[in-house]
Amino acid sequence: MKETYLTNARIIDPKNNLDEIGGLIIDTKGSIKAVGKKVANGNLPSSANKIDLNKKVLIPGVVDMRVFVGEPGYEYKENFRTLSDAALSGGVTSVVSMPNTSPTIDNVSMVDFLKRRGRDKSKINIFPAATLTKNAEGKQMTEFGLLKRKGIIAFTDGVKTVQDPQVMTRIMNFASQSGSLIMQHAEDNILSKDGLINEGEISTRLGLKGIPFLAEKIIVERDLSFLEEYFCRYHISQISSEKTISVIKKAKKDGKIFTTGVSINNLSLNENDIGDFKTFLKLSPPLRTEKDRRALVESVNDGTIDVIVSDHKPQDEESKRLTFAQAATGATGVETLLPLALELFHNKSIKIKQLIAAITTNPAKILGINKGNLDKGNDADLCVIDINKPWIVNKDKLKSKSKNTPIENRKLQGQVLKTFVKGELSYEV
C-alpha cells in the first residue's frame, strides 16, 4: 500500500479536541501517521497518493454499538456482506453485532464462526456481543470469562431484558471479575406485555396497547440500585423517555459510574410519525412524545447520554406487511445513522463535537477499543462527509438487504463521500 495524503480537510476528532483545517497521512500499513494542520498541500512527496478533500469534513469512522446482522439464521434479512456495504455507505467502520441470531451467540463455538464470517465477508470491523444468559432466556448466565477471552466485546440479551432480579445481581457480580461490559435493554416484560407503541393519547386513538414509560424506568432504577452493591461495567443500551433521564441524572450526581445510549430513531422521530399504522415505525423502545424526543436530544447535548446508536434491525417485507400487532419490530438504520444525526447539528439541537463524539469516541471508549479517534498509530478508519449536501432517502437505493427504513423520503443534509477502513478506500460515493 502506498502512503496516502488526505489534505485540505476540516478534521474533527473529539477525542483529541481537534477541529481544524489540515490533513492526514495514512502510512503503508494503513495506520495514521500524522494528522493536523501541519499536513498541508505544499510539502508532499511526489511518490505518494494524494487526495485533496476540498474542505470537506474528515472524522473517525463511525462506531455503531447496536446492529443486528442476521447471521446465522436470518441471512434473508441481512448478511455480513450486505451489512458491510450498508455500513460503509453510512461512514460506519465498526459495529457491535447483537447476539439475537438463530442459534443465539451464547457459547464460544459460535464466536469463531462469527469472527470468520465477519472477516471473510465484510470490510468493516465486526465486534461481536454475546448474550448475558443462555439462549437469552434470562435464566442461566453465559461463560463471561471464556467468551471474553475469545474476543467477545460486550454482553447483552439484545432485544430482551434480564427480568429476574436475582439473576441480574449475580450476572453483575460475576461479570465484574472478568471486567465484562454488560449492556441492558431496559424494559420490564410484564408492564410492557403485548404493548405496541408509547402509552398515551396516540395509543388510545389508534386502539393499540401502550408501553408505559414505567416499563423502562423501573428496570433502569433497579439496575442502578444493583450497581451500588455489584459494581461492574454497565451500559443502558437505549432509553426513550424523559422520565428515565431524570433517574440517570440523579444517579450520576450520586457518583454512580455507568453509560447510556439512545437510538437515532428516538432522537429523530416521535409517536406521531406512526400515523396510519406504519409498521416500519414499530420499534423497541417505542417512539414516544415530542417532549420525550426533545429531552433526549438535550441529554445528548449536555452529555447525560453518551452514545447514539442506529439500532439497525433489518426485517424482510413479509414480516412488516401485517397488522401492527403482528408486524415485526425494528428498523434499518446503519447507513442513515450519520446523515440523520447531522440533522440534529443542522437544526442547532446538538453541537457538532458532541454529536460526532456520540458516534465515534464515546462508544469506542465504553467498549474499550482503540477506534473512533484519529490517534497516531491507529488503524486509519475514516469517514469523509459533505456536511451540507442535501439528499432524499429512497429505500430502493439503500444497500441493506432489508428495506424497512423508518425515514423513507426524508430530506437529509449531509452525505458520506468516502469511507476508509484500515487505510483502504472502501467506499466512495
Binding site: E199, G200, E201, S203, T204, R205, L206, G207, L208, G210, D276, F277, E318, R321, L322, T323, F324, A325, Q326
Partner: protein
C-alpha cells in the same frame, strides 16, 4: 404501457368506512338521512330492494360475532347484493395465511364491498390499502366500530329528535372498547356532551384528549344525563387484575335503578350487546320498555348498515 395502466388501476377512487375519525359531518348526516328511509322499509312486508343488485359483498369476520355479522348480512341482502360470509375458522387464515394474502385472494374475485371485523386495531386500514373495493369496518381491535356508533346516533335521534345539546354518559370498560371510541368521536361531532365513567384501571391513557370528561364515580358521571350507554364487561377482565370481582364492579359501576335516578327522568338506556345481566346492568332495567332502547338499537342497526353499504359501495 402496461406499467402505466397498472399505476392508474391503483388510483381508482375508493370509498371506505374505516372509522368515525375518517368521515366528515356531511357524510354522517347523509348516512343517518338514508338510514331513516330504510327504517320504514324494514318494517314493511316487502323488504327487498335492488339498489345493490349485481354487487358482491364479502363479510370477513375474524372474530366471533352474532348481531353485527347477521345485521350486515341482512342489510346487504335487503339491498339486493350477493352476500358471502367467510367462515374464518375453516379458512386458510387459520393455516397461517396473512391478512394481505387473504385480501389479495378475495380481491381477485372482484367483490364490491368487504365488511371486516378483526381483533387487531388498524386491520381494515391495511386491507383498504390492498384491495380495489370498498372496505367497511365492522370493528377492529379496540380502535373503532363506526356502524355501531352510527346506529346509536340514529336510535337517539329516533327518540330525542337530535343529538346536539344532549348529555351522554358512556359507562364501563372504556379501555378495551371500540364502541366507546367511535361513540366519543361521533357524539362529539354531532354536538353532544360526553362523559365516560369507569374504574381507573379501565380508563385509557389521556382519554380526556378525545374530548370527554372522565369520571370514576357513577353518581357524578350520570348526573343530569339524557343517555346512559352501558358497555359490556368481558369476564376475562377479572383475571387480568383490572378488577377485583364482578360483585365489586356491579356495586360501583353496574347500572341500577338507584344510580339511574341521578340521570334525567326520561334518560334512555343503551347497550351495544351482548349484555351481562347483573354484571353491568340490572336485569329489570335492561327490559324496561320505557327506558331501555336496547332492542331498538338492533333494529336500527340493519337500517344504518343498509345506508352505509349503499353510500360506501364502490361506484362504477
Amino acid at each position: 404501457m402496461a406499467i402505466i395502466k397498472k399505476l392508474k388501476a391503483v388510483k381508482i377512487d375508493q370509498n371506505h368506512l374505516l372509522g368515525i375519525q375518517d368521515i366528515s359531518f356531511s357524510q354522517v348526516t347523509e348516512i343517518l338521512k338514508q338510514a331513516k328511509t330504510f327504517i320504514t322499509l324494514n318494517k314493511s312486508s316487502s323488504k327487498k330492494m335492488d339498489i345493490l343488485r349485481g354487487k358482491t359483498q364479502i363479510n370477513l369476520f375474524f372474530e366471533p360475532s352474532t348481531r353485527t355479522q347477521s345485521s350486515f348480512e341482512l342489510a346487504g341482502k335487503r339491498l339486493g347484493a350477493d352476500v358471502m360470509s367467510m367462515n374464518i375458522v375453516n379458512s386458510a387464515i387459520k393455516k397461517g395465511e396473512t391478512l394481505i394474502d387473504t385480501a389479495m385472494t378475495l380481491n381477485a374475485m372482484h367483490p364490491d364491498i368487504i365488511v371486516i371485523r378483526h381483533q387487531d386495531s388498524g386491520a381494515p386500514n391495511l386491507l383498504s390499502q390492498k384491495v380495489n373495493c370498498s372496505v367497511i369496518n365492522a370493528g377492529d381491535g379496540r380502535r373503532e366500530h363506526p356502524t355501531q356508533a352510527l346506529l346509536d346516533a340514529l336510535t337517539i335521534i329516533n327518540r330525542k329528535d337530535k343529538v346536539e345539546g344532549l348529555k351522554i354518559a358512556i359507562c364501563g370498560d372504556i379501555l378495551h372498547s371500540r364502541v366507546a371510541r367511535s361513540n366519543i368521536y361521533l357524539m362529539n361531532m354531532l354536538g353532544a356532551e360526553v362523559n365516560v365513567v369507569a374504574p381507573r384501571t379501565l380508563l385509557p391513557h389521556s382519554i380526556e384528549r378525545l374530548g370527554v370528561k372522565a369520571f370514576t364515580d357513577m353518581k357524578k358521571g350520570l348526573d343530569n344525563c339524557d343517555i346512559v350507554m352501558m358497555l359490556r364487561l368481558q369476564n376475562e377482565r377479572m383475571h387480568g387484575s383490572f378488577l377485583p370481582s364482578a360483585r365489586e364492579y356491579y356495586e360501583f359501576f353496574g347500572l341500577t335503578p338507584d344510580k339511574l335516578k341521578l340521570a334525567k327522568k326520561n334518560a334512555l338506556i343503551m347497550h351495544p350487546g351482548p349484555m351481562n345481566r347483573g354484571v353491568e346492568i340490572d336485569t329489570n332495567l335492561a327490559d324496561d320498555i320505557n327506558r331501555s332502547v336496547i332492542r331498538e338499537q338492533v333494529e336500527l342497526g340493519v337500517a344504518v348498515r343498509m345506508a352505509c353499504l349503499k353510500i360506501f359501495c364502490k361506484k362504477n
